[in-house]
Structures are given as structure tokens and as C-alpha cells.
Amino acid sequence: MQLCGSIAEKHERFLSKYKQELNSLERILVLQEEIDQVNHWINSGKQAYVEKRAKALAELEELKKTAGKKVSARNLDAVRQKIKDRESSLVYWRGRAKGM
């Protein structure tokens, strides 16, 4: 049925969006960890990491603009749950579209 297919497409769009959001959040988390480590190294006198830290900060700023959320484990879990839900819905509607 065409409507089931269209609903499945909606879920694909949401899924794509949440996956992208999850990637961003995970990258933000990684970048934050990386910046903490680089800061530690710079504070220990390793000035060579200044440039690296600048790059990481720039990327982080850019990602925060698009992600727009406070990165937390809770948020990550919520997005993961959404992906899980959309995937589950997508399976259902794809199956229904084929079945009908």
C-alpha cells in the first residue's frame, strides 16, 4: 500500500536525521574529551598541541551550531531510543507495505 510506503519513508527521514544527530553528539563528546586531554598536555608544557586544540575547538563550535543540544549521556540515550523506535516502526511499515 502506498500510504504504508509513505509512512516508512517518513521514518527513514527521521531515522536519517537522528543518526546524523547521534553522530554529531558522539563527535562532540569525543571532541570534548580530546580538548580536555590536549589542555592537560598544553598545561604540562607541550605547546605543540595548541594548534590541535584550536582545530578541535573550531569543529566543536561548528557541531554545536547544528546539534544545538547540550551533550549528555541522557541525550544520547534519548536519541538512541528514538533511532530504535524509528527502526522498529520502519520494519513494521516496510513489512506492511510489502504485505499489503
Binding site: 500510504l3 504504508c4 509513505s6 509512512i7 517518513k10 527521521f14 523506535d85 524509528r86 522498529s88 516502526s89 513494521y92
Partner: protein, 298 residues
């Protein structure tokens, strides 16, 4: 003397017959005058009969044509009435179906379409739990079915309205046809009544014409013995005339013989006188001379 008497008698008879003939001629003339009048009356009435018959036929023909037209119009009206009946039956059936379907649709198509669009919008754009989404999907499917039914209801309604419009047009046609039927039937009735009047008049005029004809025939019959009598009298007169002519001829001959005889006797007497030496008169002498002449001529 007898011959003269017979001739007189014949002349008297002849004159009497002539007088009778004159009387008969006068009578005959009166008959002919009456016959002429009767014939003229009869012929005048016959012309009327012909004209009335022609008029009657024309009126009946016109009446029949009008009646044929009325029959055709009635047939046409009957067909239209039948069509109206069929349409009314169809309307009743559609209305009944519409009523049932309206209950199944549970609303009008516009409202259902609105709800359906809203549901579709949510299904295709909103994020929601699968169970809620499934329920909304099922509701939407039901709305699709209801919309189909509601559209069918709309179609039925449209069809009913269309049929009502058609019925109105056909009813107008029936009214027009009825008016036309009434008008033509009225005209046919008028023609019929007029033809009855004409045929009644025709009957009356024909009877009068027949009466005149009978009178005419009767007059001819009455005239016949008079004409026979005239003919007979004419024959008699001819015969009497011939007879008179014969008698007159005979009388003339007799007179001639008598004159000859007297003359011969006078001649003999004169000649005897002359022979005897007696004195003769100039007339005697003339008689002797003429007789000699006659003798020498003979």
C-alpha cells in the same frame, strides 16, 4: 249540298280541335313553366348538396387528422409519463440507497475529507509511537472507506437532483402536450359538431331536392297525357285538314263540271238558234265564237 255540309262539319271539327289544342298548349305551357321552376329549384338544391357534401367531407377529414394528431400526442405524453414514473422510481431507489449509505458514511464528504487530510498530515509528518501510529493508520483507512461512501452519497444526491431537474422538464413537456391535446381535441370536437350540422343540413337539403325531383317527375307524368292528347289532336287536325282539302277539291271539280255542262248547253242552245235562223244575242254569238275556238284548240 251534302258535300258542303260535310265540309262545314269538318271545318267545324277542325276549329273545335284547334280550340282544344290551344287550350292544351296553354296547359302544356303552364306545365313547362312549372317544370322549369321545379328543375331550377332542384338543381339549385343539388348544387347546395354538392357544396355541403364537399364541406362535410373536408370537415370530417380535418377532424380525423386532428384526432390522429391527438392520438399521437397522447402516445407521446404516455411515453413521457412513463419516463417520469421510471425517473421517480429511480429517485426513490437512489434516495433509499443514499439514506443507508449516509448512515455508513457517518458524515458528509467535506468533513470526512477534512479529517482524512488531517490524519494523513499526521501520519506522513508527525513522529509518534508505533501503536498510536497504527491506530491512526487504521482510522485513516476507515476514513478512506467512509469518504468513498460519502462520495457515492454525493453522486447519488447529484443524480437525484439531476433526475428531479429532468422530471421538471418532462412534467413541463406533459403540461405542454396536455395543452396541445386539449386544444386539438377541442378543435376536432368543433369540426365534428360542425360536420354533424353540415350533414344534417345536407340531409334536409337533399330531402328537399328529392321532393322537387319527385314533383318534377310527377309533373312530367301529368304532362304526358296532355302531350299525347296534343299529339293525337295534331294528327286529327292533319287528317281533318287533308279531308277538308279533298272535299274542297271535289267541290271545286263538281263546280267546274257543272259550269262546263251549263256552258255546253248554252253553246248548243246558241248554235241551235243560229241554225234555226233565229235572232241571237251578242252573248250567244260570243259563246259560239269561244266554243269554236275551244273546239279548234281541242
Amino acid at each position: 249540298m251534302a258535300k258542303e255540309s260535310k265540309a262545314d262539319q269538318l271545318v267545324e271539327n277542325f276549329e273545335e280541335d284547334v280550340s282544344k289544342l290551344k287550350g292544351l298548349f296553354s296547359k302544356e305551357e303552364k306545365f313547362w313553366s312549372e317544370i322549369k321552376r321545379l328543375k331550377a329549384e332542384r338543381n339549385k338544391l343539388n348544387i347546395q348538396v354538392k357544396e355541403l357534401s364537399s364541406k362535410g367531407k373536408r370537415l370530417r377529414s380535418e377532424r380525423d387528422k386532428l384526432n390522429e394528431k391527438v392520438a399521437l400526442l397522447k402516445k407521446k405524453r404516455s411515453e413521457v409519463i412513463q419516463k417520469i414514473k421510471q425517473l421517480r422510481d429511480a429517485v426513490r431507489s437512489s434516495a433509499s440507497e443514499k439514506k443507508t449509505l449516509s448512515k455508513d458514511a457517518g458524515g458528509v464528504s467535506d468533513k470526512i475529507a477534512f479529517r482524512l487530510n488531517k490524519n494523513l498530515g499526521r501520519l506522513l509528518c508527525e513522529e509518534m509511537p508505533l501503536e498510536k501510529e497504527r491506530k491512526l493508520f487504521e482510522d485513516t483507512l476507515a476514513l478512506f472507506q467512509k469518504l468513498d461512501i460519502a462520495v457515492k452519497v454525493d453522486e447519488l444526491q447529484s443524480s437525484i437532483l439531476s433526475k428531479y431537474s429532468e422530471i421538471a422538464v418532462l412534467e413541463h413537456q406533459v403540461n405542454t402536450l396536455s395543452d396541445e391535446i386539449r386544444s386539438n381535441a377541442g378543435e376536432a370536437e368543433e369540426k365534428h359538431m360542425e360536420s354533424l350540422k353540415v350533414y344534417s343540413e345536407l340531409d334536409s337539403v337533399r330531402k328537399k331536392s328529392d321532393e322537387f325531383h319527385k314533383s318534377l317527375v310527377s309533373k312530367y307524368e301529368e304532362l304526358k297525357p296532355i302531350r299525347d292528347k296534343i299529339s293525337s289532336l295534331k294528327d286529327d287536325l292533319k287528317s281533318t285538314e287533308d279531308e277538308i282539302n279533298v272535299v274542297h277539291s271535289m267541290a271545286a271539280k263538281s263546280r267546274e263540271i257543272s259550269i262546263s255542262k251549263k256552258r255546253a248547253e248554252r253553246i248548243l242552245e246558241a248554235k241551235q238558234k243560229f241554225k234555226d235562223g233565229k235572232r241571237i244575242s251578242f252573248d250567244d254569238f260570243k259563246v259560239i265564237i269561244e266554243s269554236d275556238g275551244m273546239s279548234s284548240e281541242n
